[in-house]
Structure formats: C-alpha cells, structure tokens
Symmetry: C2
Subunit: 440 residues, 2 copies
Amino acid sequence: MVKLRVYVKREGETMTIKEQARKMKLDSSKMAVQPIAARNRALVAVAKSLLDNQEAIIAANKEDLETGQNAGLEAPVLKRLKFDENKIQDVIKGIEELINLPDPLGRAQMKRELDSDLSYVRETCPIGVIGVIFESRPDAMVQIATLCLKSGNCAILKGGSEAMKTNKILFKSIYKAAIDSGMPEGCMLQVEARNEITELLECHESVDLLIPRGSNSFVQYIMSNTKIPVMGHADGICHIYADKDMDVEKAVKVIIDSKTQYTSVCNATETLLVHRDGADKLLPELNKAFLAKNVEVRGTKEVRDIIECEPATEEDFATEYLDLIISIKLVEDVYEAIEHINKYGSHHTDCIITENTETEEIFMQYVDSAGVYCNCSTRFADGFRYGFGAEVGISTSKLHARGPVGLEGLCTYKYKMHGNGNIVADYAEGRKAFKFKDLM
Amino acid sequence: MVKLRVYVKREGETMTIKEQARKMKLDSSKMAVQPIAARNRALVAVAKSLLDNQEAIIAANKEDLETGQNAGLEAPVLKRLKFDENKIQDVIKGIEELINLPDPLGRAQMKRELDSDLSYVRETCPIGVIGVIFESRPDAMVQIATLCLKSGNCAILKGGSEAMKTNKILFKSIYKAAIDSGMPEGCMLQVEARNEITELLECHESVDLLIPRGSNSFVQYIMSNTKIPVMGHADGICHIYADKDMDVEKAVKVIIDSKTQYTSVCNATETLLVHRDGADKLLPELNKAFLAKNVEVRGTKEVRDIIECEPATEEDFATEYLDLIISIKLVEDVYEAIEHINKYGSHHTDCIITENTETEEIFMQYVDSAGVYCNCSTRFADGFRYGFGAEVGISTSKLHARGPVGLEGLCTYKYKMHGNGNIVADYAEGRKAFKFKDLM
C-alpha cells in the first residue's frame, strides 16, 4: 500500500543534514499513515531490541562515564549520564506504558455538516518532522524516540556529547527495530556532531517543530537562531505565594518539597511571596526547616526583620537558582503576589497556599502560567505526574501545547471535507445557504 | 473586584510601542478574567457605537478613497478599501453573530484525579496579547478587534496605510465603546505609523502572537524579522487532482469555481493535476470553460498534446498566480499527485475529484495540508464557511491552529491543580502512588 518512493542511500553516498531533513519531510506522510497496530508493533520491537542489546548498551555507557570522569564532569552530571540495567528496565517499562496509551491519531475533534451533501471532520494527525536537541540523560533518547514513533512523527535526534557512545547504540537499536518491524526507512535520524546543530537550525523548510532541552542559555540560543517554531522553556522561575489564610503546616511541607525535592529542575520553586499578615507565623518555623535542609535564604528588609538571612536584591527575583537557594518577599495581598509573579515569573508553574477558596480562585484566574496550583508542590509539573505516560518537555509558550507535553502535543489536525461537486459561487450568489449542523 | 493597578497615561506623556506593549502584557490578565456577560455587553456597545458613528466613518472613508484615487491605487484595491453603509451593516451583523457564539473561555478540556486529594482541570483561557497587522480592508479592523474582545485577548492593531483615516475612527469607536462598557483600559492599542511595525516586531517579551495578513513577501518579512510566534500563511498554492475515476461534470464545475470565483485569494486553486487516463475526457471540455472565463492555461508537453495552451515550466508549479492563470500537469496516479502536492504546495488546501472512495481515502491521509477536500471547491477554506462566524486568518502552520482560525485559535489553556498539602517526595519515595482517574 505504501507506494511512495523510498530513497535508498547508496554505500559511500553522503547527504547534508539539510538534504536528509528535506527528504524526511517529503516522506513524512508515509510515517503519518502507519496504523496504530503497526506503530505499537514497532514499540514492542524497540523494547525487545533494548533488552537484547543490554550488554552492549551498558558497555558503551561505561566508556562514556570513563571519558566523563577523565574530563572532570561533576558528580550530578555523571549520575544523570549513568545508564545501567535498572535504567534499561525503567525505559522498557516506559515503552510498555506508551503501548497501552490510546492512539493519539485519527481522532475526530469536530464533525460539521455545511450542507446536505457537504461536510467536514477535523481529525488529529502527526505534526510531521520533529527535531529534538537534548541534554546528557540517555533515557531522553529512548523516551523522545518512542513518543515520536507512537505519534507517527519523524524525528531528528541530537543528544548530549557526553553520552555520545550510549546514544549511538541506543539510536541504532531503536531505529533498526523500528525499520525491521515495518516503519518506513528514514523515519528517524541521529545527528551527532555539534556543528550539525547549526545546520539543523536552518532546516525551517523541513522541520516542523524544534524541542530543545537544556540550560536556559542553550534554549535561548536555539530560539534566537532559527525560524523553526520552538517548543519548550528557557527558564522556570516558579513561585509559591503563602496567603494570610494559609495552613502553616501545609505551607512548610509544600514549600520544602517544592524547593528541595530536586533542585536542578525547572519546576523547583525559586521565590516565596508571603502575605504580611502571615509572615510572623510562617517564617520562623519555615526557616528552621530550611536550615535543616541547608537552604540559603535571601530576603527583603521586611523578611530580615523577622528571620536572619541574606539580603535579596531585585536581581534575585529574576534568577532561576537551580540550587538550594530561595528568595523571599512580603506582599500586601494576593493581587500584589499576582503582579509580582506575572512580572518576574516565567509562566511555568506557580502555587498559592491558602484555605480561602475565594482568594484561591482569584489567584488561579489572574496568574498567567501554564500551571496554577493550590496547596501542592510545584514539583508536580511533569508529564508522568500529569498521567501522560512520558513527556518530550514542558512548554511555557502560549501556543500549541502548554505545560508538560506528551503525545497530544506532538499532534496537529487537518480538516477533511467531502462534497458532491459543491462550489462557493452557489453560496456567494444566494442560490444555496449554509446549514451548519454539528454532527458530534 | 478588579484591583490590579490601572496605569493612567497623563496628558502629554508618551510611551514607546515597546513600553505600551509591556504594560498591556502585565495588565492582560485583567482582560482575561472578564466574564462572558461583560465581554458580550462590550460587543453590543461596539455595534451600537459603529452605528452611531456611521456618518463620520463614511466621511473618513471617503477621504481615504480620494487620497487613494489621487495616488493611483488600482480599482480592486479601492473596492476593498470602500466602507459604506452596506459594509457597516455587514460588520454589525458579524458582531451580532459573534455575540451568539458560545464562550470560548473557561472550558474544561480535561479533569483528572491524581490522588484522592489531588486533582487538576485543564481549562481554556486567552492567549494574552495578540498583534495583528492587516491589509487595506477596514472590515478587518472590526472583525479582528471584536474576535479579540470575545476571546478575552488584548490586541495591538495595525491596519493598511491606505485606510488610515477609516481605521482611526473605527478604532476610536470600538475602543471607546469597549472601555465605557467596562473593559479594562489599555486592552486595545492602535499602531499607525509604518516604522512602528519594526518596533512591534521587537516586542517578543510582551506580544504572545503575531498575525500578519497581507502579501506573501510581507508575511515572509514578518516571519523572518521577529522572535514572536507568527500565525498565518505566506502563500496559498492550492491544488486539484482530477483522478481517473472522476465525474467529469463535477470536475469542471469544481475546478472553474476554485480558479475563478475569486482569484486574488489564498484558497484559489493554482495547479491542476490530472490522471493520464482521465486527461482525454477532461481537458478539452475544461479548456472550453477556461476560455469562457478568460483563464490562461499553462500546461506541460503532455497537456499541450491534448489541448492548445502556453507551456508550463518548473517555476509555474511553485507560483501563486492570484490571477486568471492555471498550471496543468498529468500524473501517473494518486501517489504521484500526492508527491507533487506535498513538494510544491503550501499545505493550505488541496482537493481530489474522484468517485473512488479508496483513492479518496489515500489522498486524504497522505496529503499534508490543513484542508484536504474531495469533490468540492478549495474556495470553501474560510472561517465563515467553516461555521466559525469570523476568522482572524488562515494558518498553514502545523502548530496551534491550522486552517481557518476563529475564536478557538485565539485561546490556549492552563492546568489548575488543587491539593491538600501534597508533596512529590511522597510519590517519589513510594509512600503514595498515583491513581490517575479521569473525571470527564
């Protein structure tokens, strides 16, 4: 059935990234039409292939780890780079969960009759060609490649150079299993050299979406140097506002988790805003908990009048620490908190601690962020915890997908219209009139 | 209730576009929280204001028309520029339809329980600040401003300079009516000078979305010179593929409408692809119809063997004529037609003429366009004809909104999560487990 021409690369022939991306784009509809049974079959094969190649993968990872150690990589980076038997079990479990998720493609979102013999259906379909540039964790390679497979998208993948050997064998295992089980040749491409990123950024005629995952400056660089739409987030300056009507015990628990459960991530809290009428009861108790967790507190003058801490400057409120540091400021009321968050925040995830449902509602409505929370940790902002199975990233953009992005964010839709020789002139000149009847 | 500070511009004080856009962004949540009753009340006031100011609007438009005539503007441009009593009636009717459309905001798209005391709802909300740069038709000013009002978005509007006087009084009438009926001050801004466009393009920290409407080169210029996400389309190279199993009568009717019903628009057909086994029966008859409508035909050698016409070059297939010209090429089968369309098309709207449902299905699945049609005119690709009431434009982007964009395309969503002191550590360390129960 798939009769579109397959370009077969001859031995020794080399294509530029741009040429490969163009070919991928022109062939992407072959990937888009794969039925769900075939896509799931490919995922089963990918899981098996990872298991079959387990030893070689672990060996390659050991080489990467050694190279990293010799290059003096820091312990947290090495920890993220490590890809052992447990990690392989984890990613295989992730693939099994992905297989069980419903098909994101071919879903009717609207059905409308325009006239008795003219109607359309709006149906979900893949975006096409997704470029993903990600950091050192090799799990990202597996997660992103399999999310693209499940959603019928072609993928261009560029992993961190620290994980080069691990990523190479992971990609080979995934791609070969996908092709052998019937996915179209060329549906995935690995980009390895750092200078090839520059070339990838120029592929706006072929790549529909770029998802960069990495440091703030890296993501900013990508956003500033390509015409391809970029989905993701540069920084994550998340806030907690502790209202005067808070439950202090809940507040301390949620703030400590939001700040310390994992510090080097975008959904960790960086700034705490406290209602003036609640500061006296919250801050002393909270400060004890911060001390116990080695959190450095930076506060405004008003804060330092209540607890002993470092001074916070204007710059602190615009900083994503990604570390055991928190800035604290007192505010007049929920409105001042909202103003601060909308001005200094990154529209990622912000939380209010209050027992007052009216104040909660105001906060939820006015705060302009992908996630607005009440009485729970900002660390919940994550595709797995939202029940999406996995995520390609978290978006702070207002367009397309916002917040954690799973399968749905990798899909778009098309309008399929079926008629019987209908022409616009009949409607424009009054011989016929639209009926507009929704069929779902 | 709306307690956020309102910035009141003092007499004589001037702000740059960037400063005004920043202020609009920071205040945009005040617009976002306006209840539907208030937004509809504002729309009623806008319609009344346009009627009340009818004479002054028509007088201003006459001045624009005179200036245009003196400057030697062509007849079609002058026709589009004209804004008389009938046009005012039309836009008022449009506003009345908009008032009757359901509220696009605050709609629950998902509701999920993560645990017994932790759940979220994903709810639609406005995008925030929309910048629209549009062409000479003054109707566009009214349509776009009222679509933004209904969807709770702030808007920065820049109309064509030919319509400057008309736009000025239209904007004044709309804005004053909106403010007087309770919309927040500063929710709309008119940009008038051409050089202010450059400044607007730099407002990526404040403007969430740019919608340019105009010529291909103008839209390309916008896309290449801003970091703001752009929605719209540069060109519209729409195709019709006439299959061997077509009904010739339907084919002629649909092709003539698609090419000639209105030529200077993005959804007019520019290229016809014909199955080799259907060319003999279709082309001679079609050519007669083209002749009667003064359409210039450009065909490949194979086409010229059947009918007399101009030669078509490679360049023709990549050209949006926007004129009474059509290029024609014969193809081997539906797959070659698909390949041609995905390569040369602009992913706007493409149609197959066939009575064979299997061939139709292949075309609908493989063609990578916002609209894929069977047996009806490509001219149906339009927000009004899709039943959206009105449109801000047509998007050929794969992200966010695709095809005609109405109220829904001006909205995004946010996740509102409500907990009871829930922390991630409990789930990460195995003391609690997610339940993931969908509540809708």
